[in-house]
């Protein structure tokens, strides 16, 4: 009975959406058909052409200099520049969740694993973790040029930590991670405030954006993405560590 009701509710919900999908018509605007989006009607059109502040002509990879957001990766330019405020919030969410986990279950002794781990696994885990760290750093540093960025990069780093935690039941993460995490977050805010003080607008880019496609381009974006990458990495690592802790035994 309960399941039937649940299924009914789920089905009705589905129907509701079916009702409103593909509703774009001449008479009324609505959700356009899949793949038939007219980007000129959306704000993202200007993100693509980087013409929010004014028409800057055709953007060409490797040639255009000082475009308004110098990132070749348009998603990154939205995430870290056009809507950087969202990202600050997003970082905060993760930070807050990690803090919450720490409040709830953190601070205990390391849980011991049920199986004993072969030393080969331990050592190779360390090697892989180091590689992952390097890869993660690569990903977030190149966030403005290639797919990826601070969040994937940080997650990759955390994956390394996870590997070490799983492989070795004596392993704890460093207390310094908390400091790193906090400092990076603070740095993000400081960058924003610097923008506010320098240009009068919070989180505004105040560095030259360079040539499109260069590593040292896009103004603040690589810096912020590095900050985010470190922060997310540290955060997720600490969070994983909390999950590997047992409260009560110190």
């Amino acid at each position: 009975m309960k399941k039937a009701i649940a299924a009914l509710i789920a089905f009705l919900f589905f129907l509701m959406f079916v009702n409103i999908l593909n509703s774009d018509s001449e008479e009324f605007k609505g959700i356009p058909k899949f793949g038939e989006v007219n980007l000129t009607e959306r704000v993202s059109n200007k993100y693509i052409s980087k013409s929010v502040s004014g028409d800057s002509g055709e953007i060409v990879y490797g040639k255009t200099e000082n475009a308004e957001s110098g990132s070749a990766n348009m998603v990154t330019s939205i995430v870290v520049n056009y809507r950087s405020f969202d990202t600050l919030g997003e970082v905060t969410v993760l930070f807050l969740a990690a803090t919450g986990v720490a409040i709830l279950i953190g601070g205990g002794q390391r849980k011991s694993l049920a199986i004993s781990v072969n030393p080969i696994v331990k050592i190779s885990a360390r090697i892989i973790a180091t590689l992952l760290l390097a890869f993660g750093a690569y990903v977030f540093i190149h966030g403005h040029l290639t797919p990826g960025g601070g969040f994937p990069g940080g997650t990759i780093i955390a994956a390394g930590t996870l590997l070490m935690l799983v492989a070795d039941d004596k392993k704890r993460t460093s207390k310094l991670l908390k400091i790193l995490e906090g400092t990076m977050g603070f740095l993000y805010v400081v960058i924003g405030i610097a923008g506010l003080l320098v240009t009068g607008s919070f989180l505004k880019n105040f560095l030259p954006t360079g040539t499109m496609g260069n590593l040292f381009s896009a103004g603040l974006i690589p810096i912020i993405y590095s900050v985010i990458g470190l922060k997310v990495g540290a955060e997720l690592s600490a969070l994983l560590d909390d999950f590997f802790a047992e409260e009560g035994r110190k």
Binding site: K2, I9, L12, F13, N19
Partner: protein, 611 residues
């Protein structure tokens, strides 16, 4: 001095008195009574003035309006008389506290503001102020008051909110809340809104005046209120209900705006229903008062009964009804305040409210006894005290309209009042003195003084009711009603006239004759009260002589099986709680699925419904 200034002063005095009382109780109480007496005198001196003062915007475009009309002056004076007398009375009460003083000041401010208001919004705001302060005030002294006070809270909430609704309804429909302007616009208002407004106002008036079926709070709150506050509660605050009632039936003449309804006995249906409620509350109040064992509960029910008279009289309308009702407001204010004060004085000295624990105090507290005696004679409506005048006028109206059933209620209350007023007289003042009360002294001077003033006023208006009626005539004239014919000592009504001075003279002649005969007889030998005929039994303790406990037992037996009205509120509260349990299982289940499902269903239903 500006009227709004007066009210402001009264309001500001509240916190000042509070902090002063932290420092010294005595000084603060004396100052409080000075302020109240000053306010009373101020209002009294405005006799005959008609003006309006607007100030202090409450909501956009709505200001507080105060002013004097004969109506405001009359009610304001009565209420402030009672409050100022009680304020003097309080000076020597034992349980003093800063909080009490703060709340009393607020009560007084609210009462002045309400009675001197010129529009419904001001009325309800200040009335609320005094009600809410009194709510907190009544629980300050006694333990069992909490359960009782809740009844007061809910009944006054019912009353207040219906009034608030009506006020805003009026504001929306007519664009004004001024009494006179509303009165004008009511004449052309649609029928349904007339009825709505009247029903809502009626609920408020009945609830606050303590009339059936909203009388249930009176017993508990009057009896458990601090002793010095009971006179204000009964004598002053219930009279604001009468004030609203008067505005309903006389300023907005309900008789004329409901002329399209059938009329019974010459009064329109709405008024007839109201009169019946008044009649029922007379009967209920009387029966219950007779059955009470606690002296303050007894007087509380007498308040119910007398509020019934006021409602009945005002609902009857007409010359005699209106004037009788207004006169009864004055009489009952004086008498009930005096009764409560004398009882408070007794309680102050003896420390109990149970009649069976007292007795024979007449020898110890003669002046208190005299005050009580005069008050009960007035309540019972016996000439030559002022209570007779109002009852007489009410009977005139009943006879004029030929309403035997309502007359029954009025007579029932009148004759029944002999029974209940006599019970405390017997139990408290007469009979055997209890040994533990051997050293009781007369009440202190500050208690005696206000009681005596009220007593003298009762006697004065008993001998010369024409004096009081002459200014009630002015009120009636102001509202466009017909005045009553008066001479110096006579009141001329429908079924004849009544010469109060002559009656008093006759009584004194009779008394002198009796006195002469008494003196002619041989001098009597004084014996102790214990030295009485006991049919051969030898009784040696005063307690065994006591007979006031269940004095009217045969009468009680007749009414024991009557359904109790007092429990409807309790059962309502149970009903709400049951509903709460049902709602909880429906919408606030223990597991999250429940409310996720409800939320989803709401979303989906709303979508399919609204699309």
């Amino acid at each position: 001095m500006d009227l709004s200034m007066i009210i402001l002063i009264s309001l500001i005095a509240a916190p000042i008195l509070y902090f002063l009382a932290k420092f010294s109780h005595k000084i603060a109480y004396i100052l409080f009574s000075f302020i109240q007496v000053f306010l009373f005198v101020f209002i009294l001196l405005q006799k005959g003035i008609i003006n309006t003062v607007s100030s202090f915007e409450i909501m956009d475009g709505l200001k507080l309006n105060f002013g004097f009309t004969p109506i405001n002056w009359y009610f304001g004076s009565i209420i402030m008389l009672i409050i100022s007398m009680s304020a003097i009375f309080m000076i020597s009460i034992k349980k003093k506290s800063p909080a009490k003083l703060l709340l009393l000041s607020l009560v007084s401010t609210g009462a002045i503001g309400a009675t001197l208001s010129m529009d419904f919004l001001t009325l309800v705001i200040f009335w609320e102020l005094s009600t809410w302060s009194s709510l907190i005030l009544i629980v300050l002294d006694k333990e069992k008051s909490f359960r009782e006070a809740i009844k007061y809270v809910s009944v006054s909430a019912i009353g207040t909110y219906s009034m608030l609704y009506a006020v805003f309804y009026i504001l929306k429909s007519f664009g004004t809340v001024n009494y006179l302007e509303v009165a004008d616009k009511m004449k052309v208002a649609p029928e349904s809104s007339k009825i709505l407004i009247f029903v809502l106002f009626g609920i408020m008036a009945l609830a606050k005046a303590g009339s059936f079926p909203l009388h249930i709070w009176l017993r508990g709150s009057h009896s458990t209120a601090p002793d010095e506050f009971s006179p204000i509660l009964s004598g002053a605050l219930t009279k604001i209900g009468a004030y609203l009632l008067f505005i309903m039936v006389a300023v907005i003449p309900s008789s004329s705006i409901f002329s399209w309804l059938p009329s019974i006995g010459g009064i329109t249906l709405v008024n007839y229903v109201l009169a019946w409620l008044g009649g029922i509350s007379i009967v209920v109040g009387t029966v219950m008062a007779i059955r009470m064992e606690d002296v303050k509960e007894l007087i509380a029910f007498s308040t119910v009964s007398n509020s019934g008279y006021i409602v009945l009289a005002m609902a009857l309308g007409g010359t005699y009804g209106t004037i009788g009702g207004l006169m009864h407001v004055l009489n009952h204010a004086l008498a009930s305040a005096a009764m409560f004060m004398s009882m408070a004085a007794v309680i102050h000295r003896t420390g109990t409210t149970k009649m069976r624990e007292m007795g024979g105090l007449i020898t110890k507290m003669p002046i208190t006894f005299a005050a009580y005696l005069v008050a009960i004679i007035s309540v019972a409506g016996i000439p030559p005290m002022s209570g007779f005048a109002s009852k007489w006028l009410i009977y005139q109206q009943l006879v004029k309209n030929g309403l035997p059933f309502l007359a029954f209620a009025a007579f029932f209350g009148s004759v029944g009042s002999f029974m209940y007023v006599f019970k405390p007289l017997t139990g408290v003042f007469l009979g055997q003195l209890k040994p533990e009360h051997k050293n009781v002294k007369e009440a202190p001077f500050t208690m005696i003084l206000p009681m005596s003033i009220l007593t003298l006023l009762t006697i004065f208006w008993g001998i010369l009711p024409s004096n009081a009626i002459s200014f009630i005539n002015k009120i009636v004239h102001y509202t466009g009603g017909k005045e009553i014919q008066l001479t110096f000592s006579r009141i001329i009504a429908l079924t004849g006239q009544w010469d109060s001075v002559l009656v008093t003279m006759a009584f004194f002649v009779g008394f002198i004759i009796a006195f002469i005969i008494f003196l002619m007889g041989k001098k009597a030998r004084q014996v102790d009260l214990m030295d009485t005929y006991t049919g051969g039994e030898f009784l040696y303790t005063a307690e065994l002589y006591h007979f006031v406990y269940k004095m009217y037992r045969p009468f009680d037996r007749m009414f024991e099986k009557w359904p109790s009205m007092e429990n409807w509120l309790t059962s309502l509260s149970y009903k709400i709680k049951e509903l709460g349990a049902l709602l909880k299982t429906l919408f606030y289940p223990k597991y999250p699925q429940g409310y996720v499902a409800v939320s989803m269903l709401t979303l989906l239903v709303a979508f399919w419904w609204l699309r």
